[in-house]
């Protein structure tokens, strides 16, 4: 019965379901894009350059991948809260606070996986590009082109991490209705209240988003080559 009501909520395009879903999606997409740009840069540097302390950077990144979301939420909270160094910006309990937190959350994941993807590039690829006199930037473009599925997977892993997290959104967004309420914070709230219809409806939406993302990746893999 609860399931039927949940499906009905989705099919009726319930305003709140729609708003929460769009809020979650837009914040996850924005934070993933923000994290991806420096992550691609750092991942590439790590894979092609040798520099002192490189292994330490990799260890830190790998450790940050497993960082609990509430710890990241806590650190950023201490920075953007009224008494924190960035308190004057008034970011706390706004969508931007969530976006910052989610960007920090996904950055090490994307960086680490991009580094891993680019490190696995065949030596034959780089040597083939060298033997044909490929310029530095074109070579980099080709390495990304040939590793695009692995790089895309890295980015989608970052997206998957933020779309499903609850700690950062709850601590930094405050779960404010019609403002910073996301799918996961709503599910947590509604479940605690014993009202499962909305929670289940949003759960279905979350599964649908995850399924869509993976399907797109699968199509990408199939057309690769």
């Amino acid at each position: 019965m609860v399931f039927v009501k949940a499906v009905a909520l989705i099919l009726s395009m319930d305003k709140e379901v729609l708003f929460i879903s769009m809020t979650s999606l837009s914040m996850a997409v924005t934070s993933t894009i923000i994290a991806t740009i420096p992550a691609l840069f750092l991942g590439t540097i790590l894979s092609i350059k040798k520099f002192p302390g490189k292994s330490i950077v990799i260890i830190i990144l790998n450790s940050l991948m497993a960082m609990p979301t509430v710890v990241i939420g806590l650190i950023i909270y201490s920075m953007i809260s009224r008494s924190g160094p960035l308190g004057q910006l008034g970011l706390l309990f706004t969508p931007w606070a969530i976006i910052i937190g989610q960007s920090v959350l996904s950055f090490p994941i994307i960086t680490s996986l991009v580094y891993s993807a680019l490190s696995k590039v065949d030596i034959e690829l780089t040597e083939t590009l060298d033997t044909f006199g490929t310029g530095r930037f074109k070579k980099l473009y080709m390495i990304f082109r040939e590793s695009r599925i692995a790089v895309l997977s890295a980015i989608l892993s970052g997206f998957g991490r933020v779309i499903g997290e609850v700690g950062v959104s709850m601590m930094l967004g405050g779960n404010i209705r019609w403002f910073t309420r996301t799918i996961t914070t709503t599910i947590a709230l509604e479940t605690s209240k014993g009202e499962f219809e909305l929670a289940l409806a949003l759960g279905i939406v979350l599964i649908f988003i995850s399924f869509t993302v993976n399907t797109l990746l699968h199509i990408g893999v199939k057309s690769h080559g």
């Binding site: 065949d122 034959e124 690829l125 040597e127 083939t128 060298d130 033997t131 044909f132 006199g133 490929t134 310029g135 074109k138 080709m142 082109r145 040939e146 690769h224 080559g225």
Partner: protein
Amino acid sequence: MDSLMIKMDDLEYFYDKNQALSINHLSIKKGITTVFLGSNGSGKTTILKMLSGLIYPSRGVMNNTSEELEKKSVMVHQVPYMFSGTVKYNIDFVLKNKKIKKDNRIKIINNVLKQADLFHLIQRKASELSGGEKQRLAIARAISVDPENLILDEPFAHIDIKSRELIAGLIFQRAELQKTTILSTHDLTSAYRLADRIIYLEDGKIKEPEYNFFKGNISHRDDHFCSFYSQSEKGNITIFAPASEKDHKAVVIPYRDIFLTRDKIESSAQNQLSGEIVLLRKSGSQFFVTIDCGLELKAVITDLSVKKFQLKEKKKIYVNFKASAVRLY
């Protein structure tokens, strides 16, 4: 103009701390097909990468820098990398790299794909090609930019007969145009048929050859023998070899199957040639003797034989070997 593609002295290459290559001296002429022959792990790939400028020597001297070699050479790997995309894209990319205009690119692509018998697969994804087709595409891609030096690492490994013949044909075409091709293989037949010169590698070092190797054509054949007419800088000579119906391009005679006599003798050996010793070189307990018989033949004999026959340079001698000792390729 320098006639040498490369000249290297006291060259060494280390992978981490392991010595992969140690070459006292090596020079390779331009305009010929040179084959590196050796077993797995003998250093063939390492030296080819060095000749392509893809890796730098750890020590030693070369007449060309690695950067110069990289500009002049294109190397095709044993397992060639195919860019994701179509057969056409794979060639188009490297031509674009060379800033060749679109009209010319189309002509070149069509031409090299026809040569490699891949034109019918022009729109096929490169990843969907068979091993032999991929190797042919990789060579077509390399030939498309018309490199000064074409370097092929084991081009005949794991491919079918059709691909083998097509690739051999592409190498012959370059040879006819007197373009430099260097390849590695452990396939003796391909090596002897294609090579103008063979360099033997073992444990990262150049190994003393154990075979006389000449290029030429069969000029006569009957039920018992075929005679092999060889042209060289030193002159022309006919060598009797076992009867064969095939078209052969090279003859190989092991040093150890040659025996030397002071005088012409009656024997079952069909090949008896007179000549003059031009070089006598000691190596361990044996001597390598080079005899000019119109072309230079080498034999390996013991120091006892050298003493017995009082062999020395410029001495006249007869070179004898059986037709059955002659291997045709």
